[in-house]
């Protein structure tokens, strides 16, 4: 569905993506790596917020390279960005609705999508009128994911969803991600390799902008390099 091939990008002279290639079918895929490895740049390149110097990105066979971001999103990609993903002064319900409001194809399906997000995140149903900014950090992250799912995307991209969450919430979050993975394809950038590996079926390890390792989750879990560098074993 999503194919990234030989992506290169620079910030000034810094070479931040080096011949990076990966693909996502209908499964959940993780992109792991330390701070500054290029995870966010990769995510931004896919949705067109960053224009890579060379390489190609296709989604359902169409190249995304020259597509404006809003069209990438309208073609079935949803992004949960790392920050400012919600409107703190708007209600939970209004935040959810805003996830579909700017995607013409998704507007009709809002009632069903709301139903689905309340089933996935029951806590949100009891908070529809509450201001998003008054939710706890974990609830806000759940709301951000539910908001992105409002457009029933074919591919959901998560940029470090566990950032800043307490450990117990991280576990819950990755459970939800696994559940969502049964409905739509997922590309998740994460630093928390230990827990997020369980939520995806395949993963890539990025170091210094290049793919260092790739494979099915259980293979990565037992890889010596991953165990030493990311799992602290």
């Amino acid at each position: 569905m999503l194919a990234v091939s030989k992506l290169n990008h620079y910030y000034g002279k810094a070479h931040v993506l080096r011949d990076l290639s990966l693909d996502v079918g209908t499964e959940s895929v993780g992109v792991f790596g330390p701070n500054g490895a290029g995870k966010t740049t990769l995510v931004h390149a896919i949705v067109g917020l960053v224009r890579p110097r060379t390489g190609d990105i296709t989604f359902d066979g169409r190249s995304l390279l020259r597509m404006p971001t809003y069209e990438v999103i309208r073609s079935g990609v949803a992004l949960v960005p790392q920050e400012r993903e919600l409107f703190p002064y708007m209600s939970v319900l209004a935040n959810l609705e805003s996830g579909a409001a700017y995607i013409p194809a998704a507007r009709k399906g809002v009632p069903e999508a709301l139903q689905a997000s309340f089933e996935m995140f029951p806590i949100l149903k009891t908070r529809t009128r509450q201001l998003a900014g008054t939710l706890s950090g974990g609830e806000q992250r759940m709301l951000a994911i539910a908001r992105a799912m409002m457009s029933s995307p074919k591919l959901l991209i998560l940029d470090e969803p566990s950032l800043g969450l307490q450990p117990s919430l991280v576990t819950e979050l990755f459970h939800k991600v696994r559940d969502i993975g049964e409905k739509s394809a997922i590309l998740m950038a994460e630093q928390n390799v230990r827990q997020s590996l369980k939520a995806v079926s395949r993963g890539y390890v990025i170091e210094n902008g290049a793919i260092a390792l790739q494979g099915p989750s259980d293979e990565l879990l037992h890889n010596d390099h991953v165990r030493r560098a990311y799992l602290g074993l």
Partner: protein, 312 residues
Amino acid sequence: MRIARYVPYLVGAAVAATFPLFSGAYLEQVAGATLIYLTLALSWDMLLRSGQLGFGTAGFFGLGSYAAVLLFLNVGVQPFVSIIFGGIVAGVVALLLGLAVLRLRGMYFAITTLALAGIFAVVLRNFPSLTGGAEGKMLPSCIFSGDTANVYWLILVVAVMTIVISEVFERTRIHVALTSIRNDERVAKSSGVNVFKYLVFVFAVTSAIQGIAGGVYAHVFGFVSPEGSFSANFLLLPLAMALLGGIHSTWGPVIGALVLGALSEYLKLQIPYGHLLVYGAIIVVVILFLPQGLSGAARAWRGRSHAARGAR
């Protein structure tokens, strides 16, 4: 309880609509001028809600003035038609220029829109056969033959229309789109918002409103001139009003315009031209002590008293 919430609005509307019945020509004139500035303040704020600081208010106001007067003098249409034409010209010019200047952000956009206003005035001054050059153009007579009550009602209609458009912007998809563009353009884009289209649309609509206000103003005073119609007052006073009342809302600029309009008229009588000093002082004081403006201060105060009641 529900009805009680609307009482202030109903009272305000009733007072505004019947104002000429219990006031004289002088007060009608003051109120009319205030409502023109209110329209400019509100339209300036409507663009600001998208995070774009526009300094073209006086420019589109002047452009609308000239378009209305020139159509009226040369084609001989009804004054109302020429006023609407003034709005259309300002809106179309903003749309075309917006395609270029809305690629700029922040200070660059602000300065460019300010320069545009200057360019409009220079261009108009340099076609004396059509525009009367530096002297401008006079109308043979003012609209409604200068009847202040009718003039007031005409301006009131324009102001109410602007308030309605502002509320539409606040209560539809447009609101969230503009707010998210202001907060973080990248997040707006990744929600599927066509950022550029929204910015061009809002720039064109708010400029058209400013053009209509200019057309009305020209017909009320019966003349246009490069200095008068493009005066910096049509930028600075609305800006001060919106800042005083509170930006990013409909009622902030409305309240600010009413307060400052009345206050400046009073000061004008007390200290001729001194009111401009007071404007400057107000902007400084507001920015220092009331960054959210009067409406923001009122919200904060209400919030505190709610919290105090809750704590008891």
